[in-house]
Subunit: 148 residues, 2 copies
């Protein structure tokens, strides 16, 4: 299994942990020098949080880091990052984002690219199926999470 | 005192609370139907948070709200909102942002406007002086907060 596949798998495991606890199944990991330095999943249900999307929870778990570290990181996320999470990526200058899929939700990938962020989308079937199942069974929770 | 001045004053009081506890002096309030429904200030120092900028802390304190509420809110913030906070404003469809000042830091106001958000900048002297004093005495903390 490639490193990319391994780290995306870790993000998927985060999403699955969220789902098992009744949460929104989106997960993320932050990778620096081929090691995971932060991991997290959406906390809307578990922590009643409106800001801890998976990517934000991951950044929070990684803790306060110097800009020089962020600038060498890759962020993995199971779903295309929304405006808030894309903004956090731009704020901290994370240069590379690997996205599980963008078929069930298209975030601000274009804006990320305009800011020089490399965005690779894997169109991973497992990620897609996980989100499709969640959206069809919990449409109101999903809409709340994307401000609709 | 006008309502706008009153709510900006409440955001400034939040910033001052943060400063008194050794934090970064940026504050915010969320207003719905002329009432404050959320308030907060930057939590980088106090909670070791990298995501709880003042605006994010305010949204978190306001709790989980339906999209229909956000769409009638005004967000007050003592400083021009960064990419992350602007992304959160766009995600939740908050239509109006009142900014204390954008002279010490210019955030993503243009991007907000492109998304139909009304942005009013007060160029408030108190807000400016508070940030100038903070940046000159704590440049490393300030740079960390804006990913530099």
């Amino acid at each position: 299994m490639s490193k990319t596949d391994l780290f995306l798998k870790a993000a998927i495991e985060e999403a699955e942990q969220g789902r098992e606890r009744g949460g929104i199944p989106i997960g993320s990991v932050l990778v620096y020098q081929q090691k995971i330095i932060g991991r997290g999943h959406n906390q809307r249900v578990q922590q009643k949080s409106v800001v801890l999307h998976a990517e934000m929870h991951t950044l929070e778990q990684a803790g306060r880091l110097p800009a020089s570290i962020y600038k060498q990181c890759t962020l993995y996320t199971t779903l295309s990052p929304c405006a808030m999470c894309s903004g956090a990526i731009i704020l901290y200058g994370i240069p590379h984002v690997i996205v599980g899929e963008n078929q069930t939700f298209m975030g601000q990938e274009q804006w990320l690219k305009e800011h020089g962020v490399r965005v690779d989308v894997m169109q991973d079937k497992h990620c897609m199926e996980m989100m499709k199942a969640f959206i069809s069974t919990h449409p109101e929770l999903w809409n709340e999470d994307i401000g609709e």
